[in-house]
């Protein structure tokens, strides 16, 4: 009775529950993100913990605030607010003032989720929406990459983290460009091993490619993630940037560099695959992934910004309802 890739699967009444619920899926993603989080703490010290904590606090408090007025107490228990906060925190630069990180968490949940009607109703990925808001609001702190902790004590917190609410960071942070910025503006390639193991500047969660991939594999084994989305995004980026490299190897980065630099892995594995904001049908997920991949390379190579993963995913999020409509499976028999 076992069919291979059935077009239509008919089942009888005693159906088995798969055992997968929203909270369990959310918890799985949190577990998958743990190695990256620990790596971020290791590379950037206590400041990273403060930024992540502020994001999560902002997200959870907002969720809580709106769930009391709507009498939906259970929406806190599914851990989705914690996950949004953590994902947002992982996309932020380590030297960001914690009040901005908190604000980002508030916006991510408030404007990204609650205003649409709560979990499952949002059009855009909440964490990325929070990041887009922060990037548009505080462009300079959001693109100031502090250097790695190096030999400094773990408990050393950069002064910029502790700026008072609404106040500027004092300009004493040692900062330099991220690998993508170096590539774009100075055509300087960061060694691949640094990119893979996290020995580079960048947002908290985008430094270590290998750990992100490990988390992705865990999610794939646990069936919490549609493998088509990350695979199609990464394949598209490899092919597109590979083609560009063949044209001009100095101006355009190599495919491997494109994959391991910036937030591509974080975005492709953890954000583009958000079940709420990605298409439902297999055909739709391929279109979605290819769209994200093409946009990422276009923005990175031809756009004004060094990094384009966030806008690429947000744009394709906006296209998701349309993709869903055009890839709707035919009703059987018609």
């Amino acid at each position: 009775m076992k069919q291979k890739d059935p077009d239509l699967l008919l089942l009888h009444a005693p159906l088995l529950h798969q055992g997968m619920t929203t909270p369990s899926a959310m918890r799985d993603v949190l577990y998958a993100l743990m190695p990256v989080t620990v790596a971020a703490l290791w590379f950037f010290g206590l400041g990273a913990l403060l930024v992540l904590g502020a994001c999560i606090a902002g997200a959870v408090l907002t969720e809580w605030f709106f769930s009391i007025s709507e009498k939906r107490g259970e929406s806190l228990l599914d851990a989705s607010a914690i996950l949004t906060g953590l994902l947002l925190g992982l996309t932020l630069p380590p030297g960001l003032p914690i009040w901005m990180a908190f604000l980002g968490g508030v916006v991510a949940i408030g404007l990204g989720k609650v205003i649409w009607g709560g979990l499952g109703h949002n059009l855009f990925n909440p964490a990325l929406l929070g990041r887009a808001f922060l990037l548009a609001t505080f462009p300079i702190p959001m693109t100031t990459w502090t250097s790695l902790r190096g030999s400094e004590s773990f408990f050393h917190v950069s002064a910029s983290n502790l700026a008072l609410p609404f106040m500027q960071t004092k300009v004493d942070i040692v900062s330099s460009a991220s690998p993508l910025g170096l590539m774009k503006f100075e055509q300087e390639v960061t060694p691949l091993t640094n990119l893979m193991f996290g020995n580079t500047l960048g947002s908290l969660g985008e430094t270590s490619g290998v750990l992100l991939l490990l988390g992705g594999i865990y999610l794939w084994i646990r069936r919490d993630l549609d493998w088509r989305i990350p695979v199609s995004i990464l394949l598209t980026v490899v092919m597109f940037s590979g083609g560009l490299t063949l044209v001009d190897a100095v101006r355009f980065p190599s495919p491997l560099f494109s994959i391991f630099s910036g937030g591509l892995l974080l975005g492709a594995i953890y954000m583009a695959t958000d079940p709420v904001t990605s298409p439902l049908t297999p055909r739709g997920t391929w279109i979605f992934g290819i769209g994200v991949g093409v946009l990422v390379v276009l923005i990175r190579v031809f756009g004004g910004l060094p990094e384009g993963v966030m806008y690429a995913i947000l744009l394709m999020n906006a296209a998701t309802p349309l993709i869903d409509r055009y890839t709707q499976p035919r009703i059987f028999g018609r």
């Binding site: 901005m100 548009a136 609001t137 505080f138 462009p139 609404f166 106040m167 500027q168 960071t169």
Partner: protein
């Protein structure tokens, strides 16, 4: 006479609060979003709109029996455009800097649907006194909306109000608030707040009615 007084007052208050052109009727969005990146621009825009609306309401209400029904819209527009031209040159003469910032949005007051709407819906059917009260109320409401949006955006986006620094030199400006998305966001949040208040009020009225019904039954 007392009833008249009351009616005029009602008309005035209605425009400011219950039928607020921006927060309730959602009219005049174009100047609302475009020129509210600072409080001074918002107030100048509100002042110009007030002048145009009061002036044209007065004229339309005075001449209503001589404006043929078939061409009334073009008639209203000519009257409005006259006042807009006056406002345009007055601002240019008095405050050239503000005039330059507002740019094309002063001539565009002609196209503000709120103004034409008041002529068509109110001034052309009521007495001069009531029409002027209505114009004052509506443009007062518009001014309140413009000012609240402009103040929020200038305070967050620039750390100042009417150009006066509020937070000292270390303030971190919220760049988005000066840009168009900030206008949309702020306006959306204010509308959200207004709808919430209205909903709460309706709920309260319903509860009181329910309680009274129960009390009269019992």
């Amino acid at each position: 006479m007392a009833r008249n007084e009351h009616e005029a007052y009602e008309t005035f208050i209605k425009g400011i609060w219950r039928d607020n052109p921006v927060f309730v009727q959602v009219l005049g969005m174009c100047p609302m979003l475009a020129v509210t990146n600072s409080a001074i621009n918002a107030v100048a825009m509100g002042g110009a709109t007030l002048f145009v609306l009061v002036g044209s309401s007065f004229l339309v209400a005075s001449f209503k029996q001589w404006i043929p029904k078939q061409v009334r819209i073009s008639g209203f527009i000519i009257i409005i455009a006259t006042f807009v031209t006056v406002a345009d040159y007055t601002l240019l003469a008095l405050v050239p800097k503000v005039h330059k910032e507002l740019g094309a949005f002063i001539p565009l007051i002609v196209a503000n649907c709120m103004i034409l709407g008041r002529q068509e819906a109110f001034a052309s059917r009521n007495t001069v006194r009531l029409a002027v009260m209505d114009a004052l109320g509506t443009s007062g409401g518009f001014m309140v909306a413009l000012f609240s949006l402009g103040a929020i955006r200038e305070i967050l986006g620039n750390g100042s109000l009417f150009g006066v620094d509020l937070f000292g030199e270390h303030f971190e400006p919220w760049v988005i608030m000066i840009l168009p998305p900030g206008g949309f966001l702020t306006l959306g949040l204010i509308l959200l707040f207004f709808n919430w208040v209205t909903q709460q009020k309706d709920k309260f009225i319903e509860q009181v009615a329910e309680a009274e019904r129960v009390a009269s039954d019992g």
